[in-house]
Amino acid sequence: MISLKDIGKACIIALWFVALTFPLMVIKVNPIDRIIIWRWHNMLWVGLGSFLCYLAGRAWLMRREIRLRRIRQGLEAELPQRTPLSRRIIQDPVIHRPLLAAGALFFLIFPLLFSTYQTNIMITALMYVVLGLGLNIVVGVAGLLDLGYVAFYAVGAYAYALLNLHFGLGFWTVLPIGGLLAATFGILLGFPVLRLRGDYLAIVTLGFGEIIRLILENWNEFSHGPSGISNIPRPGFFGIQMSLDHSITYLYYLMIAMVVFTIFVVNRLQNSRIGRAWFALREDEIACQAMGIDKTRTKLTAFALGAFWAGMVGVIFAAKTTFVNPASFTFLESAIILCIVVLGGMGSIVGVIIAALVLILLPEYLRAFSEYRMLVFGAVLVIMMVFRPQGIIANIRKTYRIGID
């Protein structure tokens, strides 16, 4: 399948990358002590790596081309229609029901099976599931690239921290307030900006995320600056005092409930009049307007609803760590959540859940890998866009069965 010519090409590519990365990968200087460290072995890794990557990419492209050609020649149509495994699992109740039941059982008894430490990590992963589902409404469904999503998360977290500090409000009171406050911020930001071209939205939200963080860092009287706010109470349960272990278990189940609630709501939203309008907006804005959809308002709804989840998870985050400071709300957080949506598949609920669990849990358990986390996340974004823009699990449109009359 791979010809000699491809190998030759791969060699050239490898040489190119060796030369390209030479100064940064091989040389390391210390300008003060005037020392040069030469790391020649890195050349080998870069060369070998790019050689293999090229061949793998090439093989993948060739396979796709062969399939496309066969479809064009009408050969594929005669073969039995090949549905991808992931889709078969989702569509066939005989397969997905037991899987779903097993999954549900696993998550329900998780704290009994694993240590508090593991449970804590799982809580974080579940938080990212909700964040992913929230951002999925904005980016995946409505097609609005929001790079400042973390700002709404920060709004929620600081809402709980500050309202508790100044007014003594409890977790359950602030949970909806945090969500609504974030949604309000979403509307305030979205109103002027959503009229603009899509790519400007990306940069404005990016800027907005940074502004919020910088304000939190510098406005000491308001947010206590970089040192943050500590001693935030954990969620209460009818005023019962709990040990640390118990309160983590409690938080875990709370988070599970939150995930279920989010899935329920997001799923219903997607299959509604509003949800259809979001999808249509992503597909073609102009056609959408010509069909009578109010572009700004529809976008604003998506933006605010996405922010709402971030605000709620923000409140939970503050309650979980009992401490907030601006360092938790950098652009990297937004990037991770975006990565979850892109990897999972834009608009696909199942995909986003799987992607969140994989992307958050994997680096926790593969410590060696955690250093390369952000590098890999960046690469994931590029690779998914180039090779599989629909994500690991493509979004499936609802089908209707119409009685013959």
């Binding site: 190119w16 990358f17 030369a19 390209l20 990365t21 100064p23 940064l24 990968m25 040389i27 390391k28 200087v29 210390n30 300008p31 003060i32 005037r34 040069i36 890195n42 980016v139 097609g143 690239l145 790079l147 002027p192 900006v193 603009l196 071209r197 899509g198 790519d199 400007y200 990306a202 940069i203 404005v204 990016l206 800027g207 907005f208 940074e210 502004i211 910088l214 304000i215 510098n218 992503r282 102009i286 652009f331 990037a335 975006l338 990565c339 892109v342 250093e371 390369y372 952000m374 590098l375 996340f377 960046g378 690469a379 994931v380 974004l381 590029v382 690779i383 866009m385 180039v386 823009p389």
Partner: protein, 300 residues
């Protein structure tokens, strides 16, 4: 008054650097309509390459003028190579994809390059040797403008003039303008659009690298993160001037540089970055086509 003049010149210096970066944004946007988020990283890579090359050369005992010239060349060449490669890997396959795809790819590239430099080099700040000596003839003005400010201003001006000449009068420049105006049409009249796009990335990257080297030597330290903020600010400048417009990018950069300089000098330096971002949001709301940009109506 002296303080004012000092702030003015430091604003101009800032503006020059923004301009060198903003040109890359604006040229790429003009031609393929993409916000190249990775452009800030190219600038950062230019600065790192400059640091590495200049240190190696100085350890090998090269004289200062040779170091400066070779460093500038190396930074420009490697940054261009990165720019070229990034376009080929991350943007070219997405030429006809939905509009969100190349943007997400660009974000991914930016994260990748940042962390690549972090891992390959260091997460810490590195001191950057001052490449530009204090000239004697600048002595009387040292109160408000340093030698390196002077060099930055002159270099930027020369580069701007060269770029303008290139775009106005060379074949490549004409092909670039044609492609920016209507890519399909350019293709029909036989312009190699892929080639033009590559050239655009190469030029933009080289300019950013020179900017990276100059500012690094001026400020005296760099790390892997400098491209992020500088990138957003340069983009702001490009939008302020009218994205896609080359004189606009230069004008926007100087306005932004001066605004920042005076705002931090007279108001507060805590909110340095907030000024730029707020400016960006305000322009987009009130004049999305920028100062020199033309409002176009999307063809249906």
């Amino acid at each position: 008054m002296d303080y004012f003049v000092e702030l003015f010149f430091s604003g101009l210096t800032r503006g020059s650097i923004y301009a060198l970066i903003a040109l890359g944004y604006t040229m790429v946007y003009g031609i393929i309509g993409l916000i190249n988020f990775a452009h800030g990283e190219i600038y950062m890579i230019g600065a790192f390459t400059a640091l590495i090359v200049s240190t190696v050369l100085s350890i090998f005992g090269f004289p200062l003028p040779a170091i400066i010239i070779l460093t500038a060349l190396a930074a420009a060449i490697w940054a261009s190579a990165y720019g070229y490669t990034v376009e080929k890997l991350a943007y070219r396959p997405l030429r006809n994809a939905p509009r969100l795809s190349p943007l997400i790819s660009a974000i991914g590239m930016s994260m990748f390059l940042q962390n690549y430099v972090l891992l390959a080099q260091t997460p810490d700040f590195l001191p950057f040797p001052a490449l530009i000596p204090d000239f004697d003839f600048m002595e009387p003005y040292a109160g408000f403008i340093g030698s390196s400010d002077m060099v930055i201003l002159v270099t930027t001006t020369v580069i701007m003039i060269l770029l303008t000449l290139l775009i106005k009068f060379t074949r490549t420049g004409k092909a670039m303008r044609a492609t920016a105006q209507d890519r399909k049409m350019a293709m029909l009249v036989g312009i190699n659009v892929d080639h033009v796009i590559s050239v655009t990335f190469i030029i933009g990257s080289a300019l950013a690298a020179i900017g990276g080297m100059l500012i690094a030597s001026h400020i005296g330290q760099i790390n892997f993160y400098i491209g992020f903020i500088a990138g957003i600010k340069a983009f702001t400048a490009a939008v302020l001037g009218g994205i896609g417009s080359i004189p606009g990018a230069v004008l926007g950069s100087f306005i932004l540089g001066l605004t920042e300089s005076f705002a931090t000098g007279y108001v507060s330096s805590d909110y340095e970055d907030v000024f730029a971002f707020s400016l960006l949001v305000l322009i987009l709301i009130f004049r999305p086509s920028g100062l020199l940009g033309k409002a176009t109506i999307e063809k249906v």
